[in-house]
Symmetry: C2
Subunit: 220 residues, 2 copies
């Protein structure tokens, strides 16, 4: 069965990296095959959903047998586009930008930080574990010349859109936005957002919600 052509819902895409993580664990343990039922017990999605999700891309399983762990791992990696390298730049070399530059986890997976950019003279010229911090003035030229794929936005809220515009103009294919604001990009550029504040606020809600329920049950 060949891969389907219909639009895949974002809910499905968001689950793929998680499937892949569990497959890595299974590979480490030497597990060679897994049924959707066994996978369900492990990962917490229903067996039906697992089969449904995978069949969006092709028939990777074998009736009466299950799925090859190694095979499925490679299929999902390919679907996500993890079988190649990506060149990234970080814009804004503050605390968060520096942390991401130094985080080796991404590097190992083929996401390479080529340079960081900042406006602050005291930062320009210094390096972060081998990654140079350059003057933001040269960013567009650098991105063009080095065919950078992804721009990581770690500047503050007020400059995020401007930086995004420049990155898109310079030709990045994707933007990873950490600034606590919403930005707009042309439709040919992919956008992924990490809103840390929003995440923390959501946590606060759930903490208070649990608290409230506890008090209510105590009263009943």
């Amino acid at each position: 069965m060949a891969a389907k052509n219909a639009k895949i819902s974002n809910a499905v895409i968001k689950r793929l990296p998680r499937y892949r993580r569990y497959l890595i664990e299974l590979k480490k343990k030497g597990v060679e095959k897994i049924s959707s039922k066994e996978f369900s017990a492990l990962i917490g999605y229903t067996a039906s959903q697992i089969r449904q999700d995978l069949n969006n891309f092709g028939g990777f399983g074998q009736q009466g047998y299950g799925y090859s762990v190694e095979g499925l791992y490679h299929e999902i990696s390919a679907i996500l586009g993890l079988d190649r390298e990506y060149r990234m730049v970080i814009v804004g070399a503050g605390n968060l930008g520096q942390a991401i530059a130094k985080y080796t986890h991404f590097h190992k997976q083929g996401f390479k930080v080529w340079a960081a950019f900042d406006i602050k003279p005291s930062l320009i010229g210094t390096d972060l574990d081998g990654i140079e911090i350059l003057d933001h003035e040269g960013m567009v030229e650098y991105v063009e010349k080095n065919a950078i794929d992804i721009g990581i936005i770690c500047v503050n809220q007020d400059n995020a859109q401007e930086v995004a515009d420049k990155l898109c103009f310079a030709g990045v294919k994707g933007i990873w936005n950490f600034a606590p604001t919403d930005i707009e990009v042309p439709s040919h550029v992919a956008l992924e957002v990490v809103h840390l504040s929003d995440s923390l606020h959501s946590l606060a809600y759930h903490m208070n919600d649990i608290q409230k329920k506890g008090e209510k049950n105590a009263k009943d």
Copy 2:
């Protein structure tokens, strides 16, 4: 209309911080009232969804008028539990832990980092912009004694569950997990996860998807 009691779906909760951000912007601009239709044009949700979302918690609007920006901001802040302070500790003072410790954005919103913990002797005793790095051995006692609300997990994958267990044992009400793995917590503890790798993989997928569509259209 009093606040409803039914279970609010997570999709609604995830939108609340975003409503709040736009309300802050409106306040800054001196806007005093907004209709669901105007809000829709701004934030990109349908007017119907906005009214539906807000009415999960109460009737905050006024027929024929709209919503008070200031009033709605306070209501949503209260719903999220942002009208109080939270005490947090960071476990794992590596790059990411340090970045979060130094990130003043959270501090301003009432989320205070009280201390960071690590196992590495070279880090213990040093400080991050006024936040001490302490020996992980003393973590449980510290969390209990200081009534810490939130534990932020920035250790590596292999130690994440163990750290979570300790934090829960010590009595935190919420856990914010940055380790690239899934962890389990008791039902009386809230859990919010930030999977940076998953987010990056999702970005890679969308980049490749856009690329593929472009090639396909070129062929047609």
